[in-house]
Amino acid sequence: MLRYIVRRLLWLIPVIILVSLAIYILMDLAPGTVIDSLITEQMTPEDIEKLRQEYDLDKPVIYRYGKYMWGLLHGDLGRSQVTGISVWESFMTRFPATLKLSLVSVVIGTVLAIPIGIFAARRAGTIWDNLTTGFTLIGQSMPSFWLGLLLLIAFAYKIQLFPAGGYRGPSSYVLPAVTSALMMTALTARQTRSSMLEVLRADYLRTARAKGVPERLVIRRHALKNAWIPILTTIGMGMSRFLAGSAVIETVFSWPGIGRLTVEAVSQRDVTLACGCVILTCILYVIVLLIVDLLYAFVDPRIKAQYASGGRRRKVTA
């Protein structure tokens, strides 16, 4: 088991190297540099040249990348080229906001979605099933920024129930959390429904009923336990999708999280900060996926045995 975790974490190393290489060099090659925003009318060509030297822009990309990697090797992500604050510090001041929001929405989403999914699966083919399927399909089809804006218009401007943005107090959580939780609910409920449908056909449920297990326990103990794998996958996917897409919701609600930080860094050509943000987000992303994979072992002894024997991660199709 431990060997499996270690192997998965080691996989991060080539990812970090490749991601940083790709992003650092690509962004460096992109038109425009970080000093574009620092240059003012009054500056003489000499001043600009000095600035370029300060940022090592007179040297080849490989030099800058090497310097960056050297730092990275020592655990130093460098400093933002715009603000001069260390990348690690900028990231960590923003990270709690994103983490809290994603946890809140994952919890709300899961708690809502699983009963909805079971409800729909057990009434497959009825009007109730069609209604929930319709709801989840619409939820999946809505761009999150649009849903966020609609909620803003309704609950922050028309009836001023919640603040329109910012990160102050519990009431500011409501709208962004609801927005992302709705997306999560739609996704997870759909997955729960289809994996429950799959499980409800299984032979071992017939065995359980033949033993005289009450229907409610057949669902809760025998069926749901087996449906967990794909549901977990979706929750994990939702969580990582949230991380990936956090920029959008954070922008809508002026939420000071890592998504917005990355967007700002990329638009300002702040190569060091952008690269650092992407690397750290990738690490988070991989860790979330790893946690989900480890949870599989919890719910399914077959997968646990696979990990123990050093087998590769089971590919679960969502």
Binding site: L137, P143, S144
Partner: protein
Amino acid sequence: MTTATNVLVSKKYAKRSNAAEVWHRLKTNKGAIAGFTIICIILAITLYSVFFISYEEVTAINVQNRLQPPSWEHPFGTDDMGRDLFKRTLYGSRYSLLIGLGGVSISLIVGLILGSIAGYFGGLVDDLIMRFSDFLASIPTLLLGMVIVTVLGQSLPNLILAVGVTAIPEFIRITRSSVLVVRNQEFVEAATAIGMSHLGIIFTQVVPNGLSPIIVTVTSRIGAAIIEAASLSFLGFGIPVPHPEWGLLVSEGRNYIRIAPHLTYFPGLFIMVTVFAFNILGDGLRDALDPKLKK
């Protein structure tokens, strides 16, 4: 019977083919019909806009008319530059369709080739391709899209490329697993037994049988690509202004959300309806192609 050799016996017993059977089941699926109808309407809108709405018309500034609420003259109202939002929204449909179809084509082609190679041959090739796919999948999609657009510059083709690249791992995975399923079937062995080559087997046995999950993924992935592109535009990494791309329209509307919320409503609604149509069609296709439903 044997005397009338000028008529093929198989003609005499002609019946519905497999494709016709799927089409028949699709026709009886209300969701799929609804999705298909909406997609046709959107296509019609796009064709109309291509022929009857000019780029100048939707980008020309008319400050006197700015931020008017919806009316008969301007069904969706006007924006901060006084441009008719209705026409701008109709004009914008082409971007979403192009991005959806174009982006998915890119990921489909790359994913199909790499995925089937990985699935059919296995071994080292499989390992290499899957490592590449894992690597690509470990970068959050929106971030990858942002970086690609930033590096290559903001334009429609680059946006399509960005959206396409991010979905490649998904297509590699789906293709690979459906090829794996088919490859281990006995009828593939039977084809080997009659002396068929690898290429022959891939094209006559594996591809036709592994296609269903791929078709379903393509359909629902189009929707996801449209949303992703709109999100990139919304964040300022899309097609440059003043092109009336839907995500960009919502983003512009956001600045006037208090005084002119209609700027936000309509383009967003169009995104949702389009994506919904593709999703619901994908759902219907999945049911129609499901072999379990076959008798």
